[in-house]
Symmetry: D2
Subunit: 131 residues, 4 copies
């Protein structure tokens, strides 16, 4: 599947007194990028949640390669790596020019209002598989 | 009315690359202190919200006097300054030893599920007025 | 002085379980807008900080008029309301279409590495006063 | 090595409009617990950073098992799983009563001011290995 790129500028609130981006805040940036990826595929996560379909994060594996800093402009590559019946795997890479800042793999599980897994709706899967 | 004091330790995620606590994060500390103030008075904000009574912030006036830093241990004084029919005024002061870090005045409005103001329930007012 | 408008999309991390944007997070949005305002005027806050000139927030007065929600797209108007020797006043208004979400007045003070106020450099004042 | 337990109460700012704790915020709670773990062993991370020794996060693997909610009181178990020359592995588990909320493995790397790995000082290793 093709790659999808979004841009993220770093502000004070992203950083900590170690002078670099705080490690938890990259997960916010990754969420934003995945939301824009869904939107690009015509999938409105807000509308889905009103229909009691949510994608919740079940797992994150994130490697911090190089620190980003205040006012850096980062690129976030987002790609789906695979589907299971009720979940999907995302691969994301945050870079600054040619430098890899962060690499992350995230498992999203499709759940209902009871937070129990349910199959990903077929039209969603088709939309995500389209180019 | 008497004063109520809570303690807050500063961690990396509270700070920014200016080496001090990020200005928005004090509002999180102030929320925590107000929640503990309510709890001290026997008021469970979660239970209230399940009964469709919320206290939402309508206004904050906050003065930043001196910067707090990583691993500082701060004291937060919380006091109710006055009631109106559907709102109440909080005064809060964050200090580090004898140094004032932040002073804030916050107006909380009592609302229902529709976010429209409604009178503060009398038993709540009585609980908050008790010593 | 003229108005400056930026756009802000709301993601999960901006919201809380009250289903609306958490009150402290608007201060992050306001910081981002002010930073872009400075950038528009040719002022690089990062470069300034390397030259030991910082603008720190001394006061915020913020009124919460109407709640913003997940995936709302907000406009932030940023305007300088006045200068003093070592400080400047910002007026900012966050709107969703014709609805005012938040109005805020922020005082920024120019400080050196010792966090003590110092006069705003003249070239900065001129840049900010230009149209 | 023995286990170390800290407590964490959930406030509005920890949650999102999905009504549960936002996935990135657990990383803040994990940082706080690790910092307290170091403190318990007599290690002051702030003092170390002033001596140009930092522990930066190189990797996090986090499994989200069950959602935590507003006003939950969570326990965080923190344990060192092993040392390498310039890094150490943490295992952490967040629970609510008998329910596992989150399990996480974090690699911290010892770096100098240049962000390059350097051996963990021997006295630190000894302190961390003590019971």
């Amino acid at each position: 599947m093709e790659d999808f790129i979004t841009e993220k500028k770093i502000y004070y609130h992203d950083t900590d007194c170690g002078q670099v981006v705080y490690y938890a805040n990259y997960l916010k940036h990754l969420e934003e990028a995945r939301t824009e990826y869904f939107a690009e595929k015509g999938i409105d996560l807000k509308k889905l949640s009103e229909e009691s379909t949510w994608f919740v994060v079940a797992k994150v594996e994130i490697n911090y390669k190089y620190p980003a800093r205040y006012q850096d402009i980062l690129n976030i590559l987002t790609r789906i790596d695979g589907f299971k019946n009720a979940s999907m795997d995302f691969y994301q890479k945050i870079t600054k020019s040619d430098t890899i800042i962060v690499e992350a793999r995230t498992v999203l599980v499709c759940v209902g209002s009871d937070f129990k897994p349910k199959p990903i709706p077929l039209d969603l899967k088709n939309a995500l598989n389209s180019i």
